[in-house]
C-alpha cells in the first residue's frame, strides 16, 4: 500500500508516494532523492538522519513518513542560498569540523535548530544541542567550536 504525502522540503512543495510504514529517512533518500540525509543506525541512536520539521530537530529514521503531510522539512541540501554558504557551513569548513563527513548533515541541522532559536548559545547549550549526534572522527571539539564561531559571527577568532 502506498500513501500520497505532500510536504515542503527546503521551501519547495513536494509530493511523494510513501510505502505504508515507511520512515521519512527512506522517503527523502529513496523516493524524493535528497541524499544529503544520512542513515547510520535506522533506530534513533546516531543522529546522522537529523532533519528539521517545522524548525525542530527530528530523527527522520524514527519519523513515520505519513505523519509529515503539510509540514515543512529542512535538510542539509537546503542550507545554502544559491552559491552562498550558511554561516554554519563556513564555520564547519574553517574549523575542520568534518572528517569523513557522514555525521555532518545531521550535525549541521541540529546546530541550525539551536541557532535559530538561540542566536548566542553558550558552550553548554551547544553541547546539549548536539548531544544526540554521534561523530566518530573529529572528537567533537572542532564541531562545538564551529557552532560557537557561527553564532558569534567571528570567523577570525581562531587566529
Amino acid at each position: 500500500m502506498k500513501t500520497p504525502v505532500q510536504f515542503r522540503l527546503n521551501g519547495e512543495d513536494v509530493a511523494a508516494f510513501a510505502e505504508s510504514g515507511a520512515n521519512l529517512l527512506d522517503v527523502l533518500r529513496e523516493v524524493v532523492g535528497d541524499l544529503s540525509v544520512k542513515g547510520g543506525c535506522w533506530q534513533g541512536s546516531c543522529g546522522a538522519c537529523t532533519v528539521l520539521i517545522d524548525g525542530a530537530p527530528r530523527l527522520s529514521c524514527l519519523t513515520l513518513a505519513e505523519s509529515i503531510a503539510g509540514r515543512s522539512i529542512e535538510t542539509a541540501a537546503g542550507l545554502r542560498r544559491g552559491a552562498e554558504l550558511h554561516p554554519l557551513q563556513i564555520a564547519f569548513m574553517e574549523r575542520f569540523a568534518a572528517q569523513c563527513g557522514y555525521c555532518t548533515s545531521g550535525m549541521l541541522m541540529a546546530a541550525k535548530a539551536l541557532l535559530d532559536r538561540n542566536p548566542s548559545p553558550t558552550r553548554e547549550d551547544v553541547v546539549e544541542a548536539l548531544g544526540g549526534n554521534i561523530c566518530r572522527c573529529t572528537g567533537y571539539e572542532p564541531i562545538i567550536q564551529a557552532v560557537l564561531d557561527a553564532a558569534s559571527g567571528d570567523r577570525r577568532r581562531r587566529a
Binding site: 547510520g40 542539509a76 542550507l79 545554502r80 557522514y102 566518530r136
Partner: protein
C-alpha cells in the same frame, strides 16, 4: 600549530615550507558541509534488490540441517544464496600476498565458529522483505564446546576452532606457532637487575563503529561486467578478494569507492562485496548489501583483544637491562589480519628503548569470537599501552621521574635495536623534552641536555665498556667522549651504592638462533624477508 625546532632539527628540512605548517583545506570539505559528498549508498538505482544474511546464533555449532523452503516462497524473495552457490567458498584476506592459508568461508558450510557467522543469503525486493524471509528459515544445530579466551584456547584439550589451523594458532612460515624475538640473554639480565617487575595487560576488542555501516552495491554492467559501489577502505584489495571468491577475472569488476563514512580499519575486510556481487550475478539485477547497525556492532570485525605479559629487569640507576614479552592476539574464529598484527607487534618490541636483552613470544590465537581486524596501529597500539604503563610502574619502582626514565632509555642514533638494525633519526628524547617543557614538567639539567644524536651505539655504557665481554662486530666505532651524556644520571638519594654496572652486555653478533632459519636477522615483513 606546527613548529619546526631548528635547534634540534637544524638540517632536517628547508625553511621555505609551502604546505607544512599551513592549514590546507580538505578537498572533500565543501561536499561534506553541503551534503553532496557521494558515499557508496548515494546512488539511486532502478530495480535495486536487497541482500540480507542469516547469521549464526551460536558461537560454535555444527549445522545439522537448513530448511529454507518457506523463505523461498515468501513475498518479494528473488533468490536464496547457499554455501554451495559460492564459487570459491574458502578464503583468507592476505592470500593476495601469499600470507596464510584459506580458512574462512563466505557462507558457513557445516560448522559455524562464531556468533554472527553468515550462513545463507536472501535477495529480495526490499530490505524488509529479506529480513522477514530470514525469519522463516529453519536451521537445526548441534552445539559444540566453544572457547573465548586466548590462553584457554592453547591448553591441551581445548576445543579446536578453525579447521585449517586445528591447534588454534596461526602458522608462520609453514611451521611455527608463534613469532619470536631473541636478543642478548634475558635471564642474565634479570639476574643482574635490581628490580624485576612482571605485569599482565589486557586490551578488549574495540568496535570501530563508523557512522556509515559497511556496505556495497553491485550493478550488472554490459559485457558481463559489474560496477560495484563500496564503502571499502581498501578498494583494490577488495576487488581482488571479490574476484577470487566469485572466480571471475578481476577485469570483470569495476569498483568505485571514494568517500568512506568512517573506517578506522573496520572497512578493510571485504565483508560485503563478494556476496553482493554473487547476488547480482545470480539474479541479473542490481543488489545492495548494507549492514544494519546491529550487524556493524556485533559482527563487524573489531580491533582484536590482546593479552600481554611484560617482565622487565631494571637497575636502580634507571637502565632497563632486560625485557621479556609474552603476548596473545585474539584473532577470533578466522585469520583476517591478526596474523600480520603479530608480526607488527614483534617488530615493535621492546618499544623505542635500548634494552640489551630482549625476548618475546607472540601468538596469533583462534577463539570462537568475532574475527578481529585492523584498527589504527593494530599490533602496536595495545603493546604500547602495555609498555608505557609498564614504564610508569618501573619509574615508580626505582623512584625515578617517569620522563627522565624514558629519556635515559630512549633509542639514540647508532643504538643497535633488538632486531639487529641500527637506530637512525631518533627523536624520542627530543619529543619527551618538548612534551615536558610544554607541560611545565621540570627535568633536571642533564636530561634537558641529552640528545638522540649523542651517546648512541653499542659501546656506550654507564661506566665504560667491559671489553672482556664479546664485543659486537657490527658496532660502529665511537669516541668515548660521547659516553658521559648517558651516564650522568644518579638517583637524588642514592641507596646502598653498588658500583654502577656496565650498561648491559653488548649484544651478541647478529646470527639467527641455532636450528632456526626464521625470524631474527632479516626480520621485517610478513614474508620474513627484509624490506628496504
Amino acid at each position: 600549530m606546527f613548529e619546526l625546532r631548528k635547534d634540534i632539527f637544524a638540517d632536517e628540512r628547508d625553511d621555505n615550507l609551502k604546505e607544512i605548517g599551513q592549514p590546507t583545506q580538505r578537498q572533500d570539505m565543501l561536499g561534506h558541509v553541503t551534503g553532496t559528498s557521494t558515499y557508496y549508498d548515494d546512488h539511486r538505482i532502478a530495480g535495486l534488490l536487497h541482500l540480507k544474511v542469516l547469521r549464526s546464533p551460536h558461537a560454535h555449532a555444527r549445522i545439522r540441517s537448513i530448511d529454507d523452503a518457506a523463505a523461498a516462497r515468501a513475498p518479494g524473495v528473488k533468490r536464496i544464496i547457499r554455501a554451495a552457490d559460492v564459487p570459491v567458498n574458502l578464503n583468507t584476506l592476505l592470500s593476495l600476498i601469499q600470507f596464510g592459508k584459506d580458512d574462512e568461508p563466505s557462507l558457513a558450510n557445516d560448522i559455524v565458529r562464531y556468533k554472527g557467522e553468515p550462513i545463507l543469503g536472501i535477495v529480495a525486493t526490499s530490505e524488509r522483505a529479506a529480513i522477514e524471509a530470514l525469519g522463516l528459515v529453519r536451521v537445526s544445530y548441534d552445539q559444540l564446546p566453544a572457547v573465548f579466551d586466548v590462553e584457554e584456547a592453547l591448553k591441551p584439550g581445548a576445543p579446536s576452532v578453525n579447521a585449517t589451523y586445528p591447534k588454534n594458532t596461526f602458522e608462520y612460515h609453514g611451521k611455527y606457532d608463534h613469532q619470536k624475538l631473541r636478543y642478548g640473554d634475558v635471564e642474565a639480565g634479570f639476574a643482574q637487575a635490581d628490580v624485576v617487575l612482571e605485569e599482565r595487560y589486557q586490551m578488549s576488542p574495540i568496535e570501530h563503529a563508523p557512522v556509515e555501516t559497511n556496505g556495497s552495491i553491485a550493478v550488472p554492467d554490459t559485457n558481463g561486467r559489474f560496477v560495484v559501489y563500496t564503502s571499502t577502505q581498501a578498494l583494490f584489495f577488495s576487488l581482488d578478494t571479490a574476484a577470487k571468491i566469485n572466480a571471475v577475472p578481476s577485469n570483470q569488476l569495476h569498483f568505485i569507492g571514494g568517500t568512506v563514512g568512517g573506517g578506522f580499519g573496520g572497512k578493510v575486510d571485504t565483508m560485503t562485496e563478494p556476496l553482493v556481487i554473487l547476488a547480482a550475478r545470480l539474479t541479473g539485477a542490481p543488489v545492495r548489501y548494507r549492514f544494519s547497525r546491529h550487524e556493524e556492532m556485533q559482527f563487524g570485525a573489531p580491533r582484536g583483544a590482546e593479552r600481554i605479559y611484560v617482565k622487565d629487569g631494571v637497575m636502580r640507576d634507571g637502565r632497563i637491562v632486560a625485557r621479556k614479552v609474552r603476548a596473545y592476539f585474539d584473532s577470533g574464529a578466522y585469520t583476517r589480519l591478526s596474523s600480520y598484527a603479530v608480526v607488527k607487534c614483534v617488530a615493535h618490541i621492546p618499544g623505542p628503548y635500548t634494552i640489551p636483552n630482549a625476548h618475546a613470544d607472540v601468538y596469533c590465537v583462534f577463539t570462537n569470537r568475532t574475527p578481529a581486524t585492523a584498527m589504527r596501529g593494530f599490533g602496536v597500539t595495545a603493546l604500547d599501552f602495555a609498555l608505557e604503563c609498564q614504564m610508569d610502574k618501573l619509574a615508580v619502582a626505582i623512584g625515578m621521574d617517569p620522563i627522565e626514565f624514558r629519556i635515559l632509555n630512549a633509542y639514540r642514533d647508532g643504538d643497535m635495536k633488538a632486531h639487529r638494525r641500527e637506530a637512525k633519526n631518533c627523536a624520542l628524547i627530543e619529543c619527551a623534552q618538548v612534551a615536558a617543557e610544554k607541560a611545565n614538567w621540570p627535568l633536571r639539567e642533564q636530561f634537558r641536555r641529552m640528545s638522540s644524536r649523542i651517546g648512541g651505539g653499542a659501546d656506550r655504557t654507564a661506566a665504560g665498556v667491559d671489553r672482556s665481554r664479546a664485543p659486537t662486530p657490527a658496532a660502529p666505532a665511537r669516541t668515548a667522549a660521547a659516553a658521559p651524556q648517558r651516564v650522568a644520571y644518579e638517583r637524588p638519594a642514592p641507596p646502598a651504592p653498588t658500583p654502577p654496572p656496565a650498561r648491559g652486555a653488548p649484544p651478541p653478533p647478529p646470527s639467527p638462533p641455532a636450528g632456526s632459519t626464521h625470524g631474527a636477522p632479516r626480520f621485517s615483513s610478513v614474508f620474513g624477508t627484509r624490506r628496504r
